[in-house]
């Protein structure tokens, strides 16, 4: 990240971050019957994270988000997969949908269904993957390590050399290196 920070962009990004997240959740919730859904909501959320990263620096995204976005995506996949598989435990079809319609105090009449859980999974996958991709590219093009040190254990084999830095002389490749 270059050191120059915009006086204007930073507070705007901070403010918009929350507004965009409210909008993202709104899109997620209306998604079953109206345009919207987990994918679009996830993209809106991802964009706000990227904006935060551009305004405050990429390491800030990691500090605010706390979890590794890729783990978020894995959790989303788990949620989506379990939503699909769960009906089979009751002998129903793979990915069969069930709905619940009723009245809740203060909220009024609501309509809930298992597709919402699936959509929430999609939301997590989209946010996780998009943020991960852009943060990795952003970090490595601005001179930081592509992955924070704590994540190295999850993404690297210790036989690997870091990719960062300019090309060195082509190294000797000794056989298979046992795989």
């Amino acid at each position: 990240m270059n050191a120059t920070r915009s006086v204007l962009f930073e507070p705007v990004a901070r403010g918009l971050f929350f507004v965009l997240h409210v909008f993202a959740v709104y899109l997620l919730l209306r998604g079953h019957d109206l345009p919207g859904g987990g994918f679009i909501g996830g993209l809106v959320s991802a964009i706000s994270w990227v904006m935060l990263g551009l305004a405050l620096g990429w390491s800030e995204v990691g500090r605010v988000l706390r979890v590794d976005p890729a783990r978020l995506a894995a959790m989303g996949l788990t949620v989506a997969g379990v939503t699909g598989a769960a009906p089979m435990l009751w002998g129903r079809a793979f990915f069969e949908q069930f709905f619940w319609h009723g009245t809740v105090p203060f909220l009024g009449e609501i309509h809930l269904g298992t597709p919402l859980a699936f959509d929430a999974g999609v939301f997590l996958v989209v946010v996780g993957i998009t943020v991960k991709m852009i943060v990795v590219l952003g970090r490595s093009t601005s001179g930081m390590r592509a992955f924070p040190r704590v994540e190295a254990d999850r993404y690297f084999s210790i036989l690997e050399e870091p990719i960062e830095g300019p090309a060195s002389t082509p190294k000797e490749k000794g056989g298979t290196d046992a795989g």
């Binding site: 994918f39 991709m133 590219l137 000797e172 490749k173």
Partner: protein, 118 residues
């Protein structure tokens, strides 16, 4: 309307093919991006003439456009997004390794490398 779209997707296909055949991987990457857009437009045409028909699902009266090609295109856009991001990252890595993305310079040392036990 259909003819315009056909023409546009044809031009996109032509430009992307030209880019894919270039000897620089960056141009190949742009070629791929354009190609997937051309393909999306092409498949979107399969839902037929949109004039006089409304969007599906939202409940407008009257005939609706065929939603299936739109669903296909949406899926393809998502996949294309992922693959493009992957290709960009790989290309960046290639550039960090070799300092170039041009085919002639990248594979210049090829014959000598091949002799190594790979």
């Amino acid at each position: 309307m259909q003819a315009d779209t056909a023409l546009l997707s044809g031009v996109l296909f032509a430009v992307s093919m030209w880019l894919l055949l270039q000897r620089s991987f960056v141009k190949v990457l742009f070629g791929f991006v354009l190609l997937s857009n051309a393909a999306n437009l092409f498949v979107l045409m399969m839902s037929g003439e949109p004039v006089g028909r409304s969007a599906p699902i939202v409940g407008d009266p009257g005939p609706v456009v065929d939603p299936l090609p739109q669903a296909l295109v949406l899926t393809a856009i998502v996949i294309g997004f992922g693959v493009t991001a992957y290709l960009v990252t790989l290309l960046y890595r290639l550039f960090l390794d070799s300092g170039t993305t041009h085919v002639d310079e990248l594979y210049a040392d090829e014959p000598a490398e091949r002799e190594k036990s790979k």
